[in-house]
Symmetry: C3
Subunit: 262 residues, 3 copies
């Protein structure tokens, strides 16, 4: 079955909802991408907050609208706090999203991610190698790189979606978003974005935020991918390299939807 | 009593002193804003250093000219190190500044901030919701957001200043800086700055640095707010959104006072 | 003996190798410079990965092509993980590089760096004060600042190189790179780079990556310094201050060697 392209009307509607609701996103993410993740969420109109101590994380994930778990610079202490936050979010039916950075390549985080899969993630966002590893299929990743294309990992993503109940987004130059039966496709990724740290991690944060929106979660997660792809295309066109890409990208996210707001 | 506007001559004089003395600032701050905080201090001519291990933090806060305590991504281990640093700074009469990020919303940091209030902060810099929470008054904050304006929190700021002996800066689109009897006002903040992570946290670092200057601490802290507001206004005028704001803001801080230094 | 200037042909050849091999660099670095370090490596074509939990760090440093140890925001837990990673890298003959941030000024990290010196670093990159402190000579540093020029520290760097077997780069407005018998010189540093946090730390990451290249390590490490100096000069010419320097610098690193790749 051919995946459907997410249409512009759906994206525009999701963006309007996103800006209107301004989801408060509890980000438990890696040390490398915290600033960029926060700035991406702020540019789109969401409210990021990073809370990491176990008791506070438990308390805050019940207050926030959505929770992001990114295992990029995992420690044992952080893993404990993440588990507490996930359980707390689940207890009050707040959606949480998993970004399984470099799963497969490293034992501790691979075991941790497998444990988390049983805790009902609302969404999973990863590259092809990570999705393959998470689904227990052979992958070509070497740390955070992916040597597989998103389409290769689509069957694994669909399997993972059926197994966990999550919407799974496997992203690359083309993104596939699936709930196990339906699959959407988002185009517009650019290779320059792989030369900027945190574009994938920040996308996971936007996916997490989009899980707080009402309506069809598959469409909302795909719309999150579309926000980033659209802003990415605009920013690539205006930048001279990966350095100037970053401010241009944040400006484009802020201006998305035609509103000039400065 | 109507607050007085800080005048341009006082700001210019404080800036000159700031650049001349180049305060070494020991920043114990949250993981999200470390880079931006360091770059703001460097652009203004100060020397930032982030030292976090307890024994080193104790050692370094006696060497540095000023200490910043920002509880944004607090952990129990970090709280211990912060207490050691505060005690060490106090022992040699070095000023320390508190940024009580998200106090009120989260129990562990709220208790920690209350303990710190008894340890003689030189300054406290926060948004309205945080100042209200710190002073034990009802606030509308939801995490790091503020739903109160700075003027609403001015009585709480004045009470807090009298109670602790600190200069208290409650900041927003207008900033109020008070020592409990006198109050200064700084204008020029812009809503775009709320779409960039770390502008408030970086201001706290500049406030911390300004506490190392000779002269009237109330004026020096207000001047720190004025540096950021002036550079912010210049940067907003030159930027297309929150992404291009960041480099423009750092350039403006660097050029502040009319010196072209590149 | 007068140091030799690294020539352009050697630099161009090293850059070509760097881009072709795309070294996977395990960065154990400080919290302040992680994003910038990752973006510098990505712009040059390398693959950064930050892995910090002890068991994962041990596992990953055997997979990666090179390891960076930067003690900027050292904790006891991080020091343990770093030692495990160094031992693991040594066991499989992967090169590791030391950046001894603020060594000399602070006791815990000074003792830690001395222990590490016995573990066969491939390279050491530091400013003059740090090299003097590491070699047990009196230095003028106050935290991360250097009050000494690189040439003052050249004898200490040469001694350190002979003692440890490492290539030692002591950097400033002029960089000296020595293996204890031969010394190379790289010019082109600019004072504006001292107003941007992480330029030295990011250089250490590029040095770490360059140790994975085949050929003469002294030349490869000097070439790493030359990449940064060349991109720095280009970026200074195009920027209005330390804020606009950052994107211009990353763009220049990406474009280095005349290839227009966007």
């Amino acid at each position: 079955m051919q995946p459907d392209l997410l249409d512009r009307v759906q994206t525009a509607h999701a963006l309007q909802q996103f800006r209107h609701l301004s989801p408060l996103v509890h980000c438990m993410t890696n040390d490398v991408v915290q600033t960029f993740t926060a700035n991406v969420l702020l540019a789109l109109g969401a409210s990021p907050a990073m809370v990491i101590e176990r008791d506070e994380a438990r308390q805050f994930s019940a207050i926030a609208d959505a929770l992001l778990i990114n295992v990029g610079t995992l420690t044992r202490e952080r893993a404990d706090a993440m588990q507490a936050a996930v359980d707390s979010a689940n207890a009050v039916h707040k959606p949480w999203t998993l970004d399984p950075v470099a799963v497969g390549a490293l034992t501790f985080r691979s075991e941790f991610c497998q444990q988390l899969l049983a805790r009902h993630p609302a969404a999973i966002r990863a590259n092809a190698s990570e999705i393959l590893a998470l689904a227990g299929m052979p992958a070509g990743g070497r740390g955070v790189d992916t040597t597989d294309t998103a389409s290769t990992a689509l069957p694994a993503a669909q399997k993972l979606a059926r197994q966990t109940g999550a919407v799974v987004a496997v992203t690359g130059e083309v993104d596939y978003i699936t709930d196990g039966s339906r699959t959407l496709m988002v185009t517009g990724g650019h290779v320059l974005m792989t030369r900027v740290v945190g574009t994938g991690c920040a996308l996971s944060a936007v996916v997490a935020a989009s899980c707080a929106l009402p309506g069809d979660r598959l469409v909302n997660v795909a719309a999150a991918c579309a926000f980033m792809a659209q802003a990415g295309s605009l920013a690539v066109a205006q930048s001279q390299g990966p350095g100037s890409f970053v401010p241009a990208f944040l400006d484009a996210l802020y201006a998305l939807g035609g509103e000039v707001r400065v």
